[in-house]
């Protein structure tokens, strides 16, 4: 029962290529597609924040061989801006497409994709609490992994860990001169 479906999926994958998808995207959305290319049968698209919902709907339902499912979404702190990456897949061949959005650090707002993908719910909540990206219209915008009332966005590069008694790195030995676990030997490694 399993092999036949597998084979058809693989043959279909081999028979077609994705190069037209990138061209179509550029044609359809023009300037708002910052980048669209195919690398090792993986589609890489970088779009403006305003059209992310439209592009994802287009990729997941409207093209000939769509990427109907969201597999993963995560954020990256690129220093001067934030990036949110969506990984769309096809279930028959496990082909992937990466859709990226660049956002300014201070006012990072994106429309939510929860209407399109159930997967987006938790993934967006995680990105929101880790990077401080606001997802407009998210049905459940609470903290996901961190306790209620957490301050700061931990995965941003400039995050300082809170000064909390549970976290304080106090000397482990009775005599602090003997052993300091949070020593600086580590930072000097590369030089």
């Amino acid at each position: 029962m399993t092999d036949s479906t597998n084979d058809t999926g693989l043959i279909a994958a081999a028979g077609q290529d994705n190069s037209d998808i990138a061209d179509n995207l550029r044609e359809q959305f023009g300037e708002q597609i910052h980048n669209a290319e195919i690398e090792d049968d993986t589609l890489q698209v970088e779009v403006a924040a305003e059209i992310i919902l439209v592009v994802c709907r287009h990729l997941s339902t409207e093209i000939e061989r769509p990427y109907p499912y969201l597999s993963d979404a995560f954020g990256v702190d690129c220093g001067d801006h934030l990036q949110v990456v969506y990984h769309l897949i096809r279930s028959e061949t496990a082909d992937g497409a990466f859709v990226r959005v660049n956002l300014p650090r201070n006012e990072a707002t994106l429309p939510t994709l929860t209407a399109l993908y159930n997967t987006a719910n938790w993934a967006e909540r995680e990105i929101a609490e880790m990077f401080g990206v606001t997802f407009a219209g998210h049905p459940d915008p609470r903290h996901l992994l961190l306790p209620e009332g957490w301050q700061g966005y931990p995965l941003r590069k400039d995050y300082q860990r809170p000064d909390h008694p549970y976290l304080a790195s106090e000397p482990l030995h009775e005599d602090p001169s003997v052993f300091l676990a949070s020593g600086p030997q580590f930072e000097t490694t590369e030089e």
Binding site: S71, H87, F98, E190
Partner: protein, 372 residues
């Protein structure tokens, strides 16, 4: 007690907190379950009780130092996680590991899959109420633990894979040990099937319980045995072969029912398929070096990579972004349990409280894999 009772009394829904400390939550998760009598009206998962900030830690460690931490994501699949991470780093660096290394890595990942499914089997038996299955499954797992210890020096967390190689070759006597185990395990699995899988009570507890349709599963990003239990033969080992999976033959078991029993049967069959893979790997195992040439300072060029492997729980993704330094600039881990668990509220709605436990157990979630 049953939901068909039409009582003239006014009834009240009660809210039960399952977890964070609860005998069946498979680690620490918290579910706020609203029940009417015994029927579940709503279930809201609260996660993050094991959020250990490993993605942040990855940014402070060198590439080779972080291998030991990948074990801690999904601790039942330590070698599989290492495989995913090491493959990602190797792709960043453009290194090809020697063939013997690839074979040993695949072999260990498959052994780990068997071990992980045995833990699942035991815990599922415990959830359903069959304590003996739990202890039997852990008993069969002990020879495996001995093998892991002989190869890697650790029982549960290994730090065995290296970038472009392995820590050490297989020890002497390993082949005999493995063959003894492979001869012995199928008989014991058969016994376990007699004891649990074919039991009328077990079937009554799992058939038609926690149903997830294929479309729902895909839209929730569910992968692994849970998705294959919905009739979708989605397996990265077959669809996008990595390591040595393109050199072995195996089937991808899938059952169309989408209930707890189907997921259970998928895992039971996967253990047999893993044994088949291991036998083939042992036959074809090439001789040779186990370490590729790797620069002493591992500093990949700026770039990014998204590596995917099939863990016992589903699709494992590792995203690495390098800025040219010795430490990853950003590391993201796609834990399969994270997305699998998201589908739980849909699966348990309208069922009984006992079905909740059965459904949760059949997803086989691992807390650090969810919370990272």
């Amino acid at each position: 007690m049953s939901e068909t009772t039409q009582a003239p009394l006014t009834t009240e829904e009660i809210v039960v907190n399952l977890g964070p400390q609860h005998p069946s939550t498979h680690g620490v998760m918290h579910f706020v379950v609203t029940i009417d009598g015994e029927t579940i009206r709503e279930c809201v998962p609260h996660i993050g009780y094991l959020h250990s900030s490993l993605e942040k830690i990855a940014e402070t460690l060198r590439y080779e130092q972080f291998i030991t931490n990948t074990d801690r994501f999904d601790y039942l699949n330590g070698l599989g996680n290492e495989l995913c991470y090491v493959q990602a780093v190797e792709r960043l660096l453009g290194i090809e590991p020697p063939p013997r290394t690839v074979f040993i890595r695949t072999l260990m990942a498959e052994l780990k899959r068997i071990s992980s499914h045995l833990v699942y089997l035991g815990c599922y038996g415990n959830d359903i109420g069959a304590m003996t299955v739990f202890l039997h499954a852990f008993r069969e797992r002990e020879p495996l633990m001995d093998m892991f210890e002989a190869v890697t020096g650790g029982r549960l967390l290994y730090n065995y894979l290296r970038i472009g190689g392995l820590r050490n070759d297989l020890p002497t006597g390993f082949t005999d040990q493995l063959h003894r185990f492979l001869d012995y395990l199928p008989r014991r699995l058969e016994e376990m099937n007699d004891l649990l899988t074919s039991n009328r009570i077990f079937i009554a507890r799992t058939r038609g319980i926690g149903i997830l349709t294929a479309r729902q599963a895909l839209s929730f990003g569910v992968t692994g045995p849970t998705l294959r239990g919905c009739g979708v033969p989605y397996d990265l080992r077959k669809l996008r072969p990595y390591a040595a999976y393109d050199q072995v033959e195996f089937d991808v078991p899938s059952f169309p029912e989408g209930d707890c029993l189907a997921r259970h049967l998928v895992r039971m069959e996967e253990m047999n398929q893993s044994m088949r893979i291991i036998r083939q790997l042992m036959e074809k195992m090439p001789e040779g070096e186990i370490q590729a040439d790797v620069p002493r300072r591992i500093k990949p060029e700026a770039g990014e990579v998204y590596e995917r492997v099939e863990s016992p729980r589903g699709e494992l993704g590792c995203y690495l972004l390098s800025d040219g330094g010795a430490k990853p600039y950003r590391m993201h881990w796609r834990g399969p349990s994270f997305y699998n668990l998201q589908a739980l509220p849909v699966m348990v709605r309208g069922g009984l409280l006992a079905d909740f436990i059965a459904t949760l157990g059949s997803l086989d979630p691992i807390a650090p894999d969810i919370d990272r």
